[in-house]
Symmetry: C2
Subunit: 199 residues, 2 copies
């Protein structure tokens, strides 16, 4: 295995363990063991757990950006793009019920640790926020696009946390259906319809 492949494998394993067990609960030795490396060989690639964390966050940012770019390229309607985001909760439900949302739980843990990388981890949320904001603008909601983006991110985080506590798949599906109804009501056409009814 080349040095580059070994490094890649360390980051793969660390990414998974930080998510499944938490950053603080994952030791250098845990990562080395899962990769099958001696300590000496491991230190050649990374001197500290913080360095690994930085690399893991960079990679998560790159992967998230690639996913969001692909949705924007492959899907025309902004509401459909937003639905792709909402449906992460269904696609990843098994991992979410076991370990929560990888972004939310990492941000929470690093905030408590007052870790230097906490702002970097929050950039993962910002990626989703900016992307969702752009979709709501395209949907015709320029004035409150950022608030709508944060609202949807908020619901997605809340569902993830309760899904972990109660491990209830029906709850996830019900809340996703509710988010779909909410999204439908956010198109300016739907708003006009509502105003008309209230008049």
């Amino acid at each position: 295995m080349s040095a580059n492949e070994t490094r890649q494998q360390i980051v793969d394993v660390a990414d998974r363990l930080f998510y499944e067990r938490g950053y603080e609960a994952t030791s250098f030795a845990d990562i080395a063991k899962d990769v099958g490396l001696s300590r000496g060989n491991f230190y050649y690639h990374f001197k500290t757990k913080d360095e690994i964390l930085d690399t893991v966050i960079e990679r998560r940012i790159a992967n998230t950006r690639a996913m969001l770019d692909a949705w924007e390229q492959d899907i025309d309607a902004p509401a459909e793009r937003i639905l792709s985001f909402v449906h992460i909760l269904i696609t990843n439900r098994t991992q979410i019920m076991a370990f929560g949302c990888p972004v939310g739980t990492l941000c929470n843990e690093l905030a408590k640790l007052e870790h230097a990388a906490k702002e970097d981890a929050a950039r993962l949320f910002s990626l989703f926020r900016v992307w969702l904001t752009r979709q709501f603008v395209t949907l015709g909601r320029e004035a409150d696009a950022d608030a709508l983006a944060l609202h949807l991110l908020m619901r997605s985080q809340g569902v993830a946390t309760l899904a972990t506590a109660f491990r209830d798949e029906d709850f996830i599906r019900r809340e996703v259906a509710d988010m779909e109804v909410w999204l439908l009501a956010q198109s300016p056409a739907a708003s006009r319809q509502r105003s008309h009814q209230s008049a």
Copy 2:
């Protein structure tokens, strides 16, 4: 200081440190240092960190129950009682922006650790869930009271996680206002009004 007072102080400090730093990141030594105890004296009270965690969770459950009982006793209207729950986000906003929700972050951490106490920690959520369900039943929403309770808990958790990531007080206040509007729309009278408009 009596043995009982010392024990109480250990639990106070552990409760705070588990919240502010996380369970895994808090060591026996950290707790002993903040209480000002020797290791020997400390071990007289607690042999393991798990024992302390169990006691901390028991105490949080007792405190939460007392808070919810008081709201039920002091406030007549179920919608007003539910608002007391929603307003925790405002009252505790400083701690939430720094450390997240004490219930949600503990449940997430213990789930990742596959810790034996994770079900006990989830009982904290169940307390809120059962209490909120009872309020929605009183509000006249028997049929979907539990779903409404989970929905509100979900929003509260989502707000807490994003508040920690973005440290944005305006976001908290906007989402709380949104929850108030949502709550108002949940009374059966409001539902009838909506049906009438749609007809």
